[in-house]
Symmetry: C2
Subunit: 299 residues, 2 copies
């Protein structure tokens, strides 16, 4: 194992500092930033994940309200909650947590989250605005990949990046973020045939397919940088990525661990996005209260 481990913690720490500065700015202006998580499941792993978001938020001085509608909630109730939170001035960020009850689709419901509060980029309008280059929040996981590469100073402009996975929550928005940064992006997926046709040409490979051990050392060229977005729970409860870390470690020059890589950064970004949303909703500081270099903060 020679690949440099790209730990999420130092990246998350820097993002937390940015969030902390935003929170101080907001408190100065009498604003208490607040995140709402809408929940309709009794899945243990999900409940654990939502509590970890709430803890991260509260540590940063961001309130977190968990709106638990129960595992039998109907689509109409969920839509109603999202509409209510969207017009509630005390709420600055909204997450619609998946999974939802059987038969309830997140796609249509996410359109009920107002774009300015859509801090996990779930509303199709957020995705369209992101694609068109208009201000919008990207899904936190997608942005986390770019934040890690930036933190460890791997340039993206002019590089070839292979994204394995075409989901609406990670692969597709990540592709837009990478194009914005002037990378050349190839989107591979389960129907691509042998993945190495594409991944072996790439300078950076992002695994976001949701299949444990899908990518091994033979899939990339020597010295490639590999980001593992996978979070697969094994039968024994262990969390593993989409990358076989052992064989990949022999070939790649750098690799994010799972756990401790992308996921750590994602949580920090949800909190940062909430503070950015609160700043944008507050509008520019009034002239009377402005400070030199005082931040605006936008999406």
């Amino acid at each position: 194992m020679n690949a440099l481990p790209l730990l999420g913690l130092p990246v998350a720490q820097r993002l937390r500092e940015a969030a902390g500065a935003n929170v101080r700015d907001l408190r100065d202006r009498g604003i208490a930033p607040k995140l709402a998580v809408v929940l309709a499941t009794d899945n243990d792993a999900t409940l654990w994940y939502v509590r970890s978001i709430a803890r991260a938020a509260e540590k940063a001085g961001v309130e977190c309200e968990i709106v638990d509608l129960g595992a039998t909630a109907q689509a109409g109730e969920i839509a109603e909650a999202l509409r209510r939170l969207s017009v509630d001035d005390t709420i600055h960020g909204i997450i619609l947590q998946t999974p939802l009850p059987a038969g309830v689709s997140a796609d249509g419901l996410a359109a009920e989250i107002s774009v300015g509060k859509d801090i996990d980029g779930a509303n199709p309008l957020s995705l369209g605005r992101l694609t068109a280059g208009l201000p919008a929040f990207a899904p936190a996981t997608a942005r986390a990949v770019v934040e890690i590469l930036d933190h460890y100073e791997f340039p993206l402009a002019g590089k070839g990046v292979a994204v394995v996975g075409r989901s609406t929550v990670v692969g597709k928005p990540l592709l837009q973020l990478l194009l914005q940064r002037d990378a050349t992006v190839t989107v591979c997926h389960s129907r691509s045939g042998p993945l190495e046709r594409y991944t072996r040409d790439a300078d950076v490979v992002v695994a976001a397919a949701g299949r444990a051990g899908l990518l091994t050392g033979r899939h990339v060229r020597a010295g490639a940088v590999v980001v593992d977005v996978g979070t697969n729970v094994e039968e024994d409860g262990q969390l593993v990525g989409d990358v076989d870390a052992e064989s990949m470690g022999e070939v790649a020059s750098a690799l994010t661990p799972v756990p401790g890589g992308v996921g750590t950064v994602t949580t920090a970004l949800l909190v940062l996005h909430t503070t950015e949303a609160a700043l944008a909703q507050a509008g520019p500081r009034s002239l009377a209260r402005s400070v030199p270099g005082g931040a605006g903060g936008n999406a």
Copy 2:
């Protein structure tokens, strides 16, 4: 020149037949399908293009209203026209024609076009819905590329497709259509470095960069299928594509001509989309009037 010329005309003819069938269905139900084109320029080439859309529409039995706001129109007037047309029940499709007056951006204005009438996929919400796999119209040019490949029976599933160009109107929506069809897609652009790194690996290459002669025979591998979306006007008024047809013709197995390729199909699709929008707005046929096999038509 050995490459098979992929003419747009037979593809357009088939799409016109589909539009004609939709128009008959609509007339049976007392609906006169109607397209509105909002125009705010005195650019000759644009006026010529809009008149060609109007002629194609009228030939298919679709009315076309050109809403000419003049070359000095303000953003507010244009937005107002788009809002008015969006709520006008006699209008089924709306195009906001570019270029717009200096300082007026199409991006924000296109959000005023209701998604159900956004037959050229200009509203960022249409783009987001397309990306998320929800019903929405794709920009006609992007769909034209896929229609041509389908018509000439070039399969997309499992193929490697290089799209050269990352515009919001062609490259980005085309990428989504190709992913939906299980192609593996690489998006290249002006910052990609030598394009042949990516284009020589591809089974299908789509040139949509807006630079005359950008792609030559040395950019693709022998037997590649090449679609030329470029419409560049030379100093002598000649229309040329992004592909150098002479050198490409020696290497590619098939190539769309310019003019007579993608553009021909695009116009037919704008008309077809208008009839599809009208059918969707009309809703399902009432049981009393339904006919066996009667079409529904959707976006």
